[in-house]
Amino acid sequence: MSTLQPAAPAPKKLDYSSDQQVRWCPGCGDYSILKQVESVLAQHGRPKEEIVFISGIGCSSRFPYYLDTYGMHSIHGRAPAIASGMRSVQPDLSVWLITGDGDSLSIGGNHLIHMLRRNVDLNVLLFNNEIYGLTKGQYSPTSPEGAISKSTPMGSTDHPFNPLALCKGADASFIARGMDRDPKHLREMLQRADAHRGTSLLEIYQNCNVFNDGAFEVFTEKASKAEHTVFVEHGKPLLFGNGTKGIKLDGMTPVIVDIAAGEATVDDLWVHDERDGFKASILVRLFDDPREKDALPRPFGVFYVSDRPTHETKMNAQVALAKQKKGPGDLDALLRGENVWTIG
């Protein structure tokens, strides 16, 4: 996708909005994400007909209706499979997959991991709000243990998924995390995801202000953000707390060090290398419950990037090789087969 030249002149941002009224609840984090996506599309300037949004089922999956691109609002959990088929025959379009934590990690979990291992070239925006919104408030596979919801009045007994660890386990070639409340950073993550060839998995912390308000407050609100988040950048040390703290690798174990108090210097810190798969496996595991004492901060940014070939590239290469070896298919030869006899 990144290889295509931006068209001139750049279209105005509004061009990508459809004529449909946006119908998320007032105050939903989805509005912010839609806005940033439109902004990134406008910045890229790709013609509208070359963009496809495919979604599953859930609040976030209404997304395609609000953009004047091609779009499919499919069935619950299956968007990765649909998008994989579509991508196999359309190698040149810009394909985006919109999904939520229930859609992609519960009912569609199987499709997600298989799409990741195949490395189908598209951008997955995984809206994680840790709740089922469209069905009005049941706990989701990312809800923390003990979460009180309509279906768990005594608290959830299920251990939640760590989505990025799951995706790393499935050999995703691009893993990143952003949040609805940090538009600038989110735009940057969207651009990075769009530029990557292969499956770009971007998890977005998204507030459901109706059924799970404040689920990510500690990461998104000014008062606590600095203490509980670490924004990782390639080649830079893992600093947080407004530069007062950092994360050091003690062997394979990440530990918090207080730079301000002189426990360590910046030079001692873990320097983020987004090409390092081993370290990325540790980074995705920074998943402490922020309420716990000495919890490691939650990372945001691009965790991991690798350049392995995409599924459709390999598929098309085989077709090309077969044509080269056997010549383009001759239908009469196929009909005839290898053993023919003639009567008459």
Partner: protein
């Protein structure tokens, strides 16, 4: 036991048709033996029909009844429509194979038995009482019994080679094949060429197989046991070029041919399942036709990837068998709502649930018609024979593309694996397929349109057949959104309006009903235009019904046969046809699914002949049922 003098020459007797059943352990290479002999006969010009019958286990316990694999072949100098009701010759590699299949051998039929497979262990495993050996206890006196120590003769033929005993024994089936080729006066050429291809990179194995094949042939020539060879002359088949084809091959080739005719890339999303997997294998060998095969993570992903491919402007196809089709139900509903082309093949097997994976049945007709939530009528067509699988696969694609709808094609395990000669067409004679593409458009300003609502692209506006335009991502000016949620007429926008929902349900149903307008007029397969009895069949029962109907007609009875290919919507001519007969018989390998549909649709007192044994009908079963109904 043999008193014939060595000098006595072998005689050659003519036979009109022969049914031969090869049976042995599932590891004995029975399927290969059978299919090779089939090819030789077909190439010679016989009409052929086959029935491979094998256990679900790849290597069931050796020597047991559960592990018996069979390949039945009917070949003749006359028209052949079924693999045969009873066998003339039974070739058995062990005691279990004899025990499992003796009932299929006609009185006085010939048994060729591998004596090595009748040792104490094999006899015990197949459940013969201690000390009893059917080869020596005269229990087979009603048959012509030839015992041959295939194992020993094979090892002898390979004496001096470097192969291990296990490898030597593995070519036993070539001995049998060589011998049978001698018995029916066939040349070994075809099989030799096949072996040369198969063992191209393994010269020692090629050499061994060729040696054993020739040894089997020579054994017939020199052994004193066998005094007679048989000859089955070529069948008087219509002029043309022929090849052999199985149903699954027919489907794969039909799909490729139709995609080419439609100018579409073929995308096949599939999850392996018996008995449909051979379609995937065949298609994946044909990538030079631009075929893309995708072995999905599950049945749902298989159909969804095909839907995605169709959305992307290719021809999306998926195939499975009953349990897999059950998993595809929700996505079928999506494809129906999207109104995009999709072909779904169900190679039926015995059900419900896992059922009988390697056996045949026609019990998924209702699943095909009704197995979705909401009102989602999808055209359903059925193939009646291996060659018809080609025709029906082509038809499925044509209907799906030209009417923008998913289409279900029903086949079954019997015709999927069975083979018959196919007078194959030339590419230029295949019907055209025309996708109803939307016309890409420039911006409103550039085309001089106003940008008012009415001027916008309407993805769900319909033509005179109720078909919507196919706008493919990448086409300029046609951006639109589609989905499984109810949509507004014409615009495709989300709509919860009650009147609109009713309208859309009716519009979608009407579109599918109008497909019946494109059918060729219904015609009888055989028999009088009106009379005492009409036999209505569908799917793989064709050969057995055809054979029975023609026999009954020869007996002077007023019996006709019609075979349905369009299961939904029905051919409009069926209603009138049913009225022209006093009685109607519907043979099915289920409890009466078509019969009930016909009763509901036409208020006709159709009677059923129902067999649910995982095995196809014999023509005799149908003949007897027809006679009984005529008498009642």
């Amino acid at each position: 036991m043999d008193t014939i003098p060595k000098t006595r020459p072998k005689t050659v007797e003519a036979r009109e048709k022969v049914v031969i059943l090869f049976a042995g352990d599932s590891g004995d290479g029975i399927q290969l033996t059978g299919s090779q002999f089939t090819e030789s006969n077909a190439l010679f010009g016989n009409d052929v029909s086959t029935f491979p019958n094998y256990p679900a286990e790849i290597r069931a316990p050796q020597g047991t009844l559960a592990g018996v694999s069979g390949y039945q072949l009917h070949f003749g100098s006359v028209d052949v429509f079924t693999p045969g009701d009873v066998c003339d010759v039974l070739v058995v590699m062990n005691a279990a194979a004899l025990k499992a299949n003796l009932a299929k051998l006609k009185n006085g039929g010939t048994i060729i038995a591998n004596s090595d497979g009748f040792d104490t262990k094999n006899l015990r495993l197949s459940g013969y009482p201690d000390e009893e050996n059917p080869l020596s206890d005269h229990s087979l006196d009603n048959y012509v019994l030839h015992t041959v120590d295939v194992t020993k003769l094979t090892r002898n033929a390979l004496e001096g080679t470097t192969l291990g005993m296990k490898e030597k024994d593995r070519s036993k089936n070539m001995f049998v094949l060589g011998f049978i080729n001698w018995m029916y006066s066939r040349s070994l050429e075809r099989t030799q060429a096949f072996l040369e291809g198969k063992f191209k990179s393994k010269p020692d194995l090629l050499d061994a197989n060729l040696k054993v094949l020739q040894a089997g042939y020579n054994y017939g020539d020199t052994s004193e046991t066998f005094t007679t060879r048989y000859e089955v002359k070529p069948a008087p088949m219509p002029k043309g070029n022929y090849r052999n084809i199985t149903g699954n091959q027919g489907i794969a080739i039909g799909l490729i041919a139709a995609a080419q005719k439609a100018g579409l890339e073929l995308f096949y999303g599939s999850y392996p399942i018996t008995p449909a997997s051979d379609i995937l294998h065949e298609l994946s060998r044909n990538k030079h036709f631009g075929v893309k095969t995708f072995q999905a993570e599950d049945e749902i992903a298989a159909i969804c990837s095909a839907i995605g491919a169709s959305y992307g402007g290719a021809l999306g196809v998926t195939a499975s068998s009953g349990p897999g089709i059950a998993l595809k139900g929700e996505a079928l509903g999506l494809a129906f709502m999207l109104e995009i082309p999709l072909v779904v093949v169900n190679v039926q097997r015995g059900g419900p649930s896992t059922g009988l994976p390697t056996k045949t049945e026609q019990a998924d007709l209702w699943q095909a018609l009704f197995g979705r939530n909401g009102e989602a009528p999808i055209p359903v067509i059925a193939a009646s024979s291996p060659t018809d699988c080609f025709e029906m696969a082509f038809e499925a694609v044509k209907l799906a593309v030209e009417h923008m709808t998913p289409v279900i094609l029903l086949s079954d395990g019997y015709i999927a694996n069975g083979a018959e000669p196919w007078r194959f067409p030339e590419a230029k004679d295949l019907r055209p397929i025309t996708p109803p593409y939307a016309k890409p458009r420039e911006s409103a300003e550039a085309e001089g349109r106003t940008s008012s609502e009415a001027e916008k692209f309407l993805p769900y506006a319909r033509d005179e057949n109720g078909v919507r335009p196919w706008a493919i991502p990448g086409m300029k000016g046609l951006q639109h959104r589609i989905g499984g949620i109810e949509k507004e007429d014409k615009t495709g926008n989300i709509s919860y309006d009650p009147q609109n929902h009713e309208l859309m349900v009716k519009l979608r149903a009407e579109k599918v009903q109008r497909i019946a307008d494109t059918y060729r007029p219904i015609r009888l397969d055989s028999g009088p235009e009106n009379g005492d009895l009409l036999i209505v069949g569908w799917g793989s029962t064709y050969g057995a019904i055809r054979t029975a109907a023609v026999e009954l007609q020869k007996e002077g009875l007023s019996v006709a046969h019609v075979h349905l290919r369009h299961m939904f919507p029905f051919n409009k001519g069926l209603r009138g046809m049913l009225k022209r007969y006093a009685k109607v018989l519907v043979p099915e390998m289920n409890s009466g699914q078509l019969r009930q549909l016909m009763r509901a649709e036409y208020l006709v007192d159709a009677q059923g002949l129902n067999k649910i044994q995982g095995m196809p009908f014999t023509s005799e079963e149908i003949r007897v049922a027809a006679l009984n109904l005529l008498k009642s």
